[in-house]
């Protein structure tokens, strides 16, 4: 599933990385716990989280995650956007709850990590 499709399904705002929205995403993982995210080996992953801080971006950078969806109407700070931009990430802001976001992506065929 392309990132632009994810943005469309979630009616999400593309905060940065607009030139990368054709990238293919293979699976999704939802967590507010970055320790769990750092244990994943998957590639082509979208991270769905309600934790909007710099460490979310750093975690995505280390784990080679190219797309992060911030749910529950959380907003991305300028510093988060800067580091995400330096690391070729797409950040999406979504006003849906975590449950609704994941449900919509799963329904559209996005695979879970496990």
């Amino acid at each position: 599933m392309e990132i632009k499709k994810i943005a469309e399904i979630l009616d999400a705002r593309i905060v940065c990385g607009e030139d990368l929205i054709d990238k293919e995403i293979h699976c999704g993982f939802a967590s507010d716990l970055m320790s769990d995210v750092l244990t994943l080996d998957s590639e082509g992953l979208v991270l769905v989280t309600g934790l909007a801080n710099l460490q979310t971006i750093r975690t995505a950078e280390m784990a080679d995650i190219t797309c992060v969806v911030f749910v529950r109407d959380k907003t991305v700070t300028p510093e988060m956007r800067k580091i995400a931009g330096e690391n070729n990430m797409v950040l999406l802001e979504c006003r849906y709850s975590m449950f609704r976001t994941i449900g919509k992506l799963y329904e559209a065929g996005l695979a879970p990590v496990y």
Partner: protein, 138 residues
């Protein structure tokens, strides 16, 4: 090649600087992306540990053609029982650390998983030294 980075205890805004810098170096050296991910995830976990628990620390990364050796040395409370700290789920992290998305007691086990060699030594009341080695052809 040797690189040194200072880590400030408690400063979460800077946590990840060293891991980010090492990732850029390894990319420039054309190291296998899967190996890079293992190295930087382990280093980032260690860096977050210093920020979360210590007053200050220093990271040394020594890279040669076959491997990367990383030494994470901090001045802090130390670890009284290393075997206990290695258990998944054991944590002494503050609520502030948990709010940042960490402190679930998974850092040290994840460092072990992502390094070929892990050595931890600690002096209670003084600090901790974590040494990681990862081979590029692993």
């Amino acid at each position: 090649m040797e690189f040194k980075y200072d880590v400030e205890g408690g400063n979460f805004a800077k946590a990840g600087h060293a891991a980010s810098a090492v990732k850029k170096v390894l990319k420039q050296l054309n190291v296998n992306p899967k190996v890079i991910k293992r190295v930087v995830v382990a280093l980032y976990e260690g860096e977050v540990n210093v920020v979360a628990h210590a007053f200050k620390g220093r990271i040394i990364a020594d890279i040669d053609p076959s491997r990367i050796y990383i030494k994470i040395e901090d001045q802090g409370p130390g670890i009284p029982d290393i075997d206990l700290a290695m258990q998944v789920g054991y944590s002494t992290a503050s609520s502030k650390v948990r709010e940042m998305g960490f402190g679930a007691g998974m850092g040290l086990p994840n460092m072990k998983k992502n390094a070929d060699k892990l050595q931890i030594s600690s002096n209670v009341g003084k600090g901790t030294v974590v040494e990681l080695t990862t081979y590029f052809n692993s």
